[in-house]
């Protein structure tokens, strides 16, 4: 929550996806990571870096670059110095998903507004990936939220 709180304070444009978004939508499970989809423009990436610096004293954060996220490296895994978990920072998934394609809704936790991908967005993101867990999640989302393929 500390990271999400810093995101809000710094005005980061993002949407929570992955396991923590599944949890926000009601399916709770333990995870070692947090996945965030971010807008890859330079201003937003700078806000992202400021937010991460607010939480972690780590010079590695400086190496997050907008031109990487907008270019050849759309996925950055950031493992903070303690090494206990990591944050996946995504700007696109292949050609299928860019930040503009992510629909999100808000959840307020202890006064912090959290932007969470909708069940349909999570379903569309997960249904065609190679991870077996994603296929399971896609089916769970489809059943729970009565989603239809379009």
């Amino acid at each position: 929550m500390e990271v999400l709180s810093a995101f809000e304070r710094r005005g980061v444009i993002y949407a929570l996806v992955g396991s923590m978004a599944m949890a926000a939508q009601g399916l709770i499970r333990a995870t070692r990571d947090m996945d965030v989809f971010v807008a890859s423009d330079a201003d937003n990436v700078e806000r992202l870096k400021q937010a991460l610096r607010d939480v972690y004293d780590d010079p590695e954060i400086e190496s997050i670059r907008a031109d990487d996220l907008a270019g050849d490296y759309p996925v950055i895994q950031y493992v903070p110095p303690q090494g206990e978990y990591w944050i996946d920072i995504l700007s696109r998934l292949g050609e299928a998903f860019r930040f503009a394609d992510i629909q999100s809704e808000d959840l307020v936790v202890d006064g912090v507004r959290v932007h969470v991908a909708t069940p349909r967005t999570l379903y569309l993101m997960k249904k065609n990936t190679v991870r077996p867990q994603d296929a399971i999640d896609a089916q769970l989302l489809k059943d729970r939220f009565k989603l239809e393929d379009q």
Partner: protein, 67 residues
């Protein structure tokens, strides 16, 4: 936690969903993750790992999760 036995997979209760966007959901997931971390502490290589695709990131993740 008690052991529960079932005669078939169909008898196993379905996953329990909580209400979507309930304000307690994220805290519950964070607490559960923290508890899991205490039971099985892990150490992942600190720093930035840049990937050209989500598939490349997933391969790294699989290695980390196996270790």
């Amino acid at each position: 936690m008690p052991v529960r036995k079932y005669r078939s997979a169909e008898d196993v209760p379905q996953r329990q969903w909580r209400a979507p966007l309930d304000s307690g959901n994220l805290k519950l997931a964070a607490d559960l993750s923290q508890l899991a971390g205490r039971f099985r502490p892990r150490h992942f290589p600190p720093g930035l790992h840049k990937h050209r695709s989500i598939y490349a990131a997933c391969r790294v993740r699989e290695v980390w999760e196996r270790e």
